[in-house]
Structures are given as C-alpha cells and as structure tokens.
Amino acid sequence: APLIPPTTNPEPKMNWASFYAVISGVNRHSTGIGRIWLSVLFIFRILVLVVAAESVWGDEKSGFTCNTQQPGCNSVCYDHFFPISHIRLWALQLILVSTPALLVAMHVAHRRHVDKRIYKLSGRTNPKDLEQIKTQKMKITGALWWTYVISLLFRIIFEVTFMYVFYMIYPGYKMIRLVKCDSYPCPNTVDCFVSRPTEKTVFTVFMLAVSGVCILLNIAEVVFLVGKACGKHLHNAGDSSIGAWIQQKLRFF
C-alpha cells in the first residue's frame, strides 16, 4: 500500500500521533473554526509531512551530485545552497504553531483547579460534582477569552514569521534543477544537480498554500471572537445600567 511509511530507516522518528493527541485535548475548548484549523493542520500538514515529504527529501544529500571528483566539493556546495532543509523548517513550524494551544490548556486547567477549590470550600465534596468540573466545557469568556485571542495572535505571528524565513532562505517556491558552485575546495565553477526538483516544488507549493489557509482560518477565528464579544457587550449595555454591566464583567473573573 502506498501510504505505509518506509520501515527501512532505523532512526527513531517523531511520534506525531502522540503530539496530535496532546494538541487535540485542547480541542474541546475551541470554537468551531478552531476545530477546523486543527483538522487542516493534522490532515494536510502533519500527515503530508510524514507520509510524503519525508520520503521526497530523504535522499536530498545523497542524491545531490556535483560534476567533479574533488572530495568535499559535494558537501560544501550542498551546505551553501541548503543551510536548513525544508523538512526541518516545516517540522519546527508545526511544533511552534501548536504551542500557543497549550497556553489555553494551562488556563483551563488553572480555572478548573480554582473551581474545585471553591466547590470544596462551599462544602460540595460529592465526587460526582468534582467529576463534572473535569468534564464540563468552559465558555470562552473573561480571562479565558483574552488567553485564547492572545494564543491565536501568537499562532498567526509564528506562521507568518516562518513563511518569511522560508522566503528569505529559499526565495521563490520553485526548486532549481541545477546550481553552480565555486566555494573551496571546488576547483572552479562546478555544476551541481539537485535530486527530485519537480516533486519538491509540488510539495513546497502545497505546504505554502496550506500555511496560507491556516493563517486565514486563524484570522477568521480572531474576527469571530472579537465580533461575538462586541455583540455581547452592545446587547448588555442596551438593556441594563452601567452598574449591572460592571457586575456582569466582574462575575467572569
């Protein structure tokens, strides 16, 4: 079956499945757009990275051939044209982009802890009540709203930064077939050939497009949350006095 990853490589691989399990734990407290973002992230980025991109870039160094027998010229030219591999950049991007979700998870855990303490102080030590705290879905209001929006902003900043870094290191999305190199110890200007350039171009375009889609989803989520909060405040201010509004805000904290 074409989807089975190659098992010949004995190096320990990243366990994206457990990574996904940790990130999707946050899923219960996200909005609908947040869940779509998570599915897009997992299916179109992590899965594609694992199944396809790692086999395409697997022989990037061994398949990088130079038109010279001078020892060391291959290594030096490869290092000159590929300071950091695409695969590593994408893996780092995925790790960093998923990190803000943990901020939200920590905030939810903190709130649960506070709720549990309030329950205990008010005398409700029924284990069923405490279980209910663990499983109830938190509403995205008050301080959690701020944490959530800040995590979304960080996500957007990280995605855009990585796309910019990618553009700085590899200007253009096309992978060239031939590079010319004359660093020491190459005797003169030598032709070096990149392995699988078209396949790499296809995957680069795909991953960049999906990154763009994820950025749009995150921006949409921010707009949705801000819109919802503004709508709620306008509605409240419309039919109650300032004092009652302040009381309502304080209740969320």
């Binding site: 190096e11 990243m14 020892p71 290594s75 030096v76 300071p83 590593r88 790790i95 990190t99 920590m106």
Partner: protein, 227 residues
C-alpha cells in the same frame, strides 16, 4: 531512547511542583526533546558517513573524525536531558518516604482506636496517596536542592558542549594531520550550517530552562521568607 516513558515519569512527579515547575516541564519537552527528536537526529544521522576527506589513506578518516568529534552533539544533549530530569526523582523519593511514614502512623492510630472499619481505613489511605503535599519544611529543602542540582547539570552540559566544540558554530572545513594521515589533510563536515542552527536553538532552549529554574528558586525563597 524512550522519551514517552521519561515524560510519563516526570509528569507523575510533577504533581508536587509549583506552577513554574510545570511550565519548565512543558518547555523542556516541547523545545528540547521534540526539537531533538524531530530535527536533530536526522541532521546528525550521516555525520560520520558523510565526513569526507581529501585523501584515500585508510584509517585517516576514522582518526580525524574521532579527533574532531569526541562525543556527538546528539549524545551530549540526550545525556543532558536525562541528567536534568533526574533531580525530580529526589523529590518523588522524599514524597514516597513521607507517605510511608504517614501511612504507618495512620494504621497504628486506627489500630489503637479500633473504631475505624476496614473501608474507612482504605478511604483514608487513598486520600493520603492522592493528596498534594505543601512545599514546606524538609520538602522545601529537598525541592530547592533538586532545583540547584538541575541548574548545575544544565549549565555544566552547556559549558561542556561549548568547550569541546569551541563555541556553538560548526566549521565547514577542518584540517588534520594525525597518524596515519600522510600530511595536513582537509576534512569536510556534512551540513555545518544546519547543525549550527540547531545547536543555537537547543542552547537557547537550555538557557530558557535555566532562567525558569532560577525564577522558581527565587519564588520559593521569597515565599518562605514572607511566611
């Protein structure tokens, strides 16, 4: 290296740490262990096979590789992560010792009083196991010791890496004239720029962890002083 098993162990012990300790554990695992697994092991995978030299003399490559890479970066980082996670076991051993003493005292006192049924005693023992101890007294000292030892290990390993490889940069070319190399021979290291990038990344993550540990020490001392 079974990183998930190590993580499971640390999470179990982490119940008794402060919130800074929990943040430290997340930073450690996301920015050090994951970066090490995801990226660094593929970058350093071909470090010896692609260590190219400008000579056909047999044995020269082995000798020069050994001179320049006494310990691989990957092994140093794995050792660092294992050593840095160890002081938490000090805390868990102390907590287990405390729990044992309390359990013994509970069994003795209920035996003397004689009115607690079997079920009541079992419930008491369960709450003993599940409770979160307050970081005071001897536990406070154990905790501070574990933090200081962690700081020493983290700093020590970073210094060792800096000394063995003369900084965090990786040169493209090294020259070597150990026997049996015929004369001064050029050696080319594979992927030096990528290796330098990851070395700097992991060094930064280590520094963040050290700062978190120092903040935790300061916080615990401040809390103890105000009490």
């Amino acid at each position: 290296m079974s990183w998930p098993a190590l993580y499971a162990q640390l999470v179990r012990v982490n119940r008794h740490s402060t919130s800074l300790g929990k943040i430290w554990l997340s930073v450690l695992f996301i920015f050090q262990v994951m970066v090490l697994i995801v990226a660094a092991e593929s970058v350093w995978g071909d470090e010896q096979s692609d260590f190219t030299c400008n000579t056909l003399q047999p044995g020269c490559e082995n000798v020069c590789y050994d001179q320049f890479f006494p310990v691989s970066h990957i092994r140093l980082w794995s050792l660092q992560l294992v050593f840095v996670s160890t002081p938490t076991l000090l805390v868990s051993m102390y907590v287990a010792y405390r729990n044992r003493g309390d359990k013994r005292r509970l069994i003795q006192s209920s035996g003397r009083a004689g009115f607690l049924g079997n079920k009541g005693q079992e419930e008491e023992l369960e709450t003993l196991k599940e409770r979160k101890l307050l970081v005071t007294g001897a536990l406070w000292w154990t905790y501070i010791c574990s933090l200081v030892v962690r700081l020493l290990f983290e700093g020590g390993f970073m210094y060792a890496l800096y000394v063995v490889y003369n900084g965090f940069q990786m040169p493209r070319l090294v020259q070597c004239n150990q026997w049996p190399c015929p004369n001064l021979v050029d050696y080319f290291i594979s992927r030096p720029t990528e290796k330098a990038i990851f070395t700097v990344l992991l060094a930064t993550a280590s520094s963040i962890c050290m700062v978190l540990n120092m903040a935790e020490v300061a916080y615990l001392i401040a809390k103890a002083l105000t009490r």
